[in-house]
Each structure stands twice: as C-alpha cells, then as structure tokens.
C-alpha cells in the first residue's frame, strides 16, 4: 500500500496518476490522500513517464469529477484510468451502466450542475468605481464543490469591462480587465456590503410572482435552499407563499368588471375593417 498526494486539481492528480500507471501500481495498492497517512508517501518528482493516450471522453469526465467534494473521487478516477489503460477497456467511459462509470457520471453531473448554479446565483454587489468610471464588484458564493476555477471564465467573458471578485470558502476568483487570478478560499464574506439595487431587485421578484400558481417544490428543486442565504431576494419567499392563498381568494371574490365601450379611435376602426375583410 502506498500513499499518494493527488494535490488539489485535475492536473496534479493526473501527474501523480501517470507515474503510478508507469510503475504499474494497481488501484488497490494506492491510498489517495493529501496528508501523509499510515503508509510512506511516494516521491512523485522523478522523471515524468511518457505521455499516455487516453480517450478524450475520459479527460472530460475526469476534469469534472476532480472538482467534486467527495474524497473518494481520486481513487475512482484512477480505477477507471487503470481499467482503460491496463485492462484495455477502451470503451469503458461510454458504458454508462458500469458501476465505476455510473458513479463518476454522478459526480460529474453534480459538478456541472454546481457550475451552472454558480453562473446563476452569484450576486455581484457594487463596491466602488475609479476615476475613469470603471466599476468594481464583489460577490460571496458558497458552493459544495470546487467549482470556482471552472466557473470563473464565464464571468470574465460576460463582465470583462468591470473589475470583480468572487469570494468563496473553496477559492476566490479575481478579474482586473486583463488577468483572471485565483487566491485561496476564505471562511467569511470579506465585503459585507449592501447594494442599493437589491431593493429594486426585491421589488421585481415580489411583482413577477403569480400567487395563483404556487409550486414551492419545483422552486426548491431548481433553487435549493442551501443557496438562499446569499440571494438577496430569498427572504421574501416565506412572505410570498404565506400570503398567496388570501390574494387568490381576493381575486376570485372580486366583482367582475363590465366591458367598457369601445373608444373612438381611428386605429381600432381600421383593425375592425381589416378583420371584416378577413372574415369574407
């Protein structure tokens, strides 16, 4: 048994995995762990082995899986890699029903979903602007998985003309107009600022809700409760739900409004003439 440090990213794990593979170390011989455990850590700075050819589909899958929070992901990836390279199971990744692959797909799906939710639920707050008018924004986001690096390029493309930082416990991303950089995660939101626009956004959220179609389960499925604490609109949810019954009852009890007579209007006359022609 040996202990191998996978590092923090797909790249560091890949380099370690390539060495293990070159030495023909089978999956059951490796303990993937960051700190030195019971077994002597392996020195992984020898000459790197020649590059291995693996299917592109594996690389795609592994990149996503490596962002997952589950510590077993590194062993799972090595197991799949071993089967592809050493057992000759070239098509393994396309067999979604294989126990290892289906587990990896599950991890990858959770990661892709969280990247998507990061794009959706990051809420920037305006911090200040410099003398040229270039604005600086900051956001606090708490993902379950290590998605900040994978999720950040989207914001660079969308908000390239403003400076922004996304702070999170996992890691932090910063854009200054030229470089996208990453710094280690921090435990708390460093800005604690408020943004004036949040009031307008909350007004919008309140007004766009239709009380006659309450579907709370659906909302929670798409916007899991764990994200709510960083969404400025989410503390309205309770009040909107609890008020909806009364609002609907009120609408149903309203006296129907009579039809007002057609106003004198040349345009409406024209429409009427057109419709008459069409009916012929």
């Amino acid at each position: 048994m040996r202990s191998v440090d996978p590092g923090k990213s797909f790249i560091s794990w890949r380099d370690a995995a390539r060495r293990m593979l070159a030495d023909h170390v089978p999956p059951e011989e490796i303990l993937w762990e960051a700190e030195r455990g019971l077994f002597p850590a392996v020195v992984t700075n020898g000459t790197p082995p020649e590059k291995l050819k693996v299917p592109a589909a594996f690389v795609d899958l592994a990149q996503n899986v490596s962002c997952h929070n589950d510590p077993s992901r590194w062993a799972l990836l090595y197991q799949i890699l071993w089967r592809i390279v050493r057992n000759g199971e070239k098509h393994l990744v396309s067999i979604a029903s294989d126990p290892d692959v289906s587990q990896a797909l599950l991890f990858a799906r959770a990661v892709r979903k969280e990247i998507h939710k990061m794009h959706a639920f990051v809420r920037f707050r305006l911090i200040d602007a410099d003398e040229t008018g270039r604005e600086r924004y900051a956001a606090w986001f708490e993902p379950d998985h290590h998605v900040i690096e994978a999720g950040a390029p989207f914001f660079k493309k969308r908000f390239s003309n403003m400076d922004w930082s996304i702070f999170s416990p996992k890691s932090c991303a910063h854009w200054d107009g030229e470089h996208l950089t990453f710094t280690p995660g921090i435990p708390h939101d460093p800005t604690k600022s408020h943004d004036e626009l949040e009031a307008a956004w909350r007004t919008y959220y309140r007004s766009i809700f239709n009380p006659a179609r309450l579907k709370v389960k659906m909302m929670k499925q798409e916007m899991p409760v764990r994200y709510w604490k960083n969404l400025p609109e989410a503390d309205l949810i309770h009040e909107l739900i609890s008020g909806s019954n009364n609002r609907v009852a009120g609408m149903l009890a309203e006296e129907p409004r009579p039809v007002k007579p057609r106003p004198k209007n040349a345009y409406l006359d024209k429409l009427r003439a057109l419709s008459a022609e069409e009916a012929d």
Binding site: H91, S94, I95, A96, S97, S102, H116, A120, F121, V122, R123, F124, R125, L126, Y137, K156, K157, R158, F159, S160, N161, M162, D195, L197, A200, W201, T203, Y204, Y205, S207, I208, F209, N210, A212, R213, L214, K215, V216, M218, M219, E222, M223, L231, I237, L240, G250, M251, L252, E254, P256, R257, P258, V259, P263, N265, Y267, L268, L271, L274, E278
Partner: protein, 409 residues
Amino acid sequence: MELQSKLAILADAAKYDASCASSGAVKVNSLDGKGVGSTGGMGICHSYAPDGRCISLLKVLLTNLCIYDCHYCINRRSSNVRRAAFTAEEVVKLTLDFYKRNYIEGLFLSSGIIRNADHTMEMVIDVARTLREAYDFRGYIHLKTIPEASPGLIEIAARYADRISINLELPTQKSLDVLAPEKSIVRTRHAMGRIRNRLDEAHDRRKNGDKKLRHATGQSTQVIVGADESTDADFLARSDDLYGNFKLRRVYYSAFSPIPEPSSILPVKPPPLVREHRLYQADWLMRFYGFKTSEILTPETPNLDLELDPKLAWALRNRQDFPVDVQTASREALLRVPGLGGTSVQRILQIRRHTRIRQADLLRLRISLAKIQPFLKTADHNPSAYLLDSDRLRARFLPKPKQLELFAK
C-alpha cells in the same frame, strides 16, 4: 411616480407571459467591446419565484396602458388597474444595473398598445436600440412584436433582439372574436411568416460567413389554456401549424390565471395547472419524440388524460407495440417507451454495443424500473403477457387515491 412603484406595476403586468427562455442566441461576449454581456448556449435561470417559474430576464411592460380589450388580460382597457409607463432610459438603466449584478440574462420587453401598433413598436425598439448602440449591451433581448406593426419595424426589432414573439393567445378566431376582439389569427400568421423569412435569411448569412451577425435566431408564441372552450386537440393542432409553417422555437401554454381585475365574460374558475403541464408534455413528444398529433389525441378523446402523462397514455392504448427489446429495438422505438428519455436512449444505444443490458444496468442509468418494466424487455426480464394485456396496467399507473378522511367536515 417613483421608479420602484413603476417597476412593481409593470412587472406585475408582464408576469402572465410564460416565456422565459434565454437560450439559442448567437454566441457573443464582451471581451472586445466596451459594454457588458454575453450570450450563447444554454440560457440561465437566475432565480425562481415560489410559482416555480424561472426568472431569467427582466420581464416588464414599457407601459400597461392599452387600447385593446383582451379579456384574460389585466391591462385591457376595461380594467381599472393602476397605469404606469417607463421611459426608455429607465428600462435601459434597470436592465444594465440588474445585468451587471448577475440578476438576469437580459431584457424581455413588451408593451400595452398605445395609440397604434407602429407607435408602440417604435417605442419598444427604441429601448433595444439604446441598449445595443449606446451601451454596447451584449446580453439577451426578447422583444414582443405586434402583428399589425409595419413589416419594416418588425424587421428592425429582429435586428436588435435575440428572440421575437407574437402571442397568439387563443387557438381559433372564434375564441379571439369573443375574448380578444382586436386580434386576428390571419394577421398573426402573416406576421409570423414574414418573421420566419427574416430569420431564415439571417441564418443563411451567418452560415455563409457573416458569423458574428447579431440578429434574432427564433420566434415563439404563447397560448392561454382554459379561458375558452378550445380542446387540447385544438391547441396541439394550432401548435403543429405554427411549428410546421413558421418554425417556431416554442409555443408556451399558459393556464388562464385569475387576475385582480376579472372580466365579466370570462370563467371565474381557473383550469387545473396540470392541464398546462400535459400540453407541454404532448408538445415535447411532437417536437422531440416523433409523435404525430393524431397519435396523442383522437377525435373521440380530444383532451389529454390529466392523470397520466401522454406518452404513457399512448403506450397503454398501443400495447400491441410492446414489449420492446432494449437490446435490439430502434432508437425511435426506444424513445416511445414510457420512462425513457432522450439521454437514457442515447446511453442505451451506446452501451448495448458492449454489454447485454440487464435490470441492474438500467438502475445505474437511473431509469425508474417501476415505469418501464411492463414495456421493456432486458436480458433478465421479459414483461409477462399478463401485465401487458391486463386492464390493471392502467390502474397501476394512476395516482394513488387520496386517503379518506375519517370525519366529514
């Protein structure tokens, strides 16, 4: 009026429009520009309201003043709702402010009809033009257009927008005559036809080299369900017409919803929301699963079964086509198995080249066995004739009866 009050009124006025898509736009970003925004690929829902609906765009009316009298609509001229109007500059600023905070994908702008169609259209276009030209806004824009507006104006709208739409609202002219007397199916279809031509041209120009051409890529519409006597067959026939003739991206079905200003000529009671859901499912089957309208509904049953999803209902009516063998069946046949979606079918086609598929494999593909077992044959499971022939099959899929209450209230 204060901006927040206007926002409250004009968002409330727009909330009955079900469309929320922000996908399918031309791929652009702001790296080489001076403004903000990107589009392309999948749209993003930035929030969800407790009604389960995605909030992806700032969806507002420019004004809720309207000279039309559509009876299902809170903004009709007969309604006493409070009226408000944004200036173009106000909508532009709200859009940019929300966008930069990552609240939204862009703007969905509609308007009550003021004065006439062209005047209204010009005001709507003005907002989009300012966003695009003065602020280099590269986010998503959906503009609602008016069939009676002159074709030149609709063409301009399509140049600034990523999607444009005209709401048909009701599937037959007979219903429109009663509930939306200013609207005409003939005029709407004409306008949709012209829009389709513009969209096709833009598509060709992009294909022939003008890759970055910013132009709407699709049109959509909405119909209101449960405000008139139209059957589901009427709705699906109309959708078939619109998808086939005008290549609409989406038809949105919106269950008629009670409004604070009810009209005297409308049903008081809203239809069950599940009817809307079934229509979406049927629509989906038509667009992605190769079903014909005539397979989903028959002249004898012009309405969808509210208790079963339409694919399952179809399978129960067509038991002779089952069971289907997971190992050998065609893609088309697999897509028709209740409980198998597009992704599952894709995966099955891939893995069956390498393995004999068993029940445990399906479980690991996260397919619900309970639903497919009667219809799908695997290496270790052959649905018994009993199951397929028995009328109990339907009973098996019906929603569980509600527990009886012990005491009458």
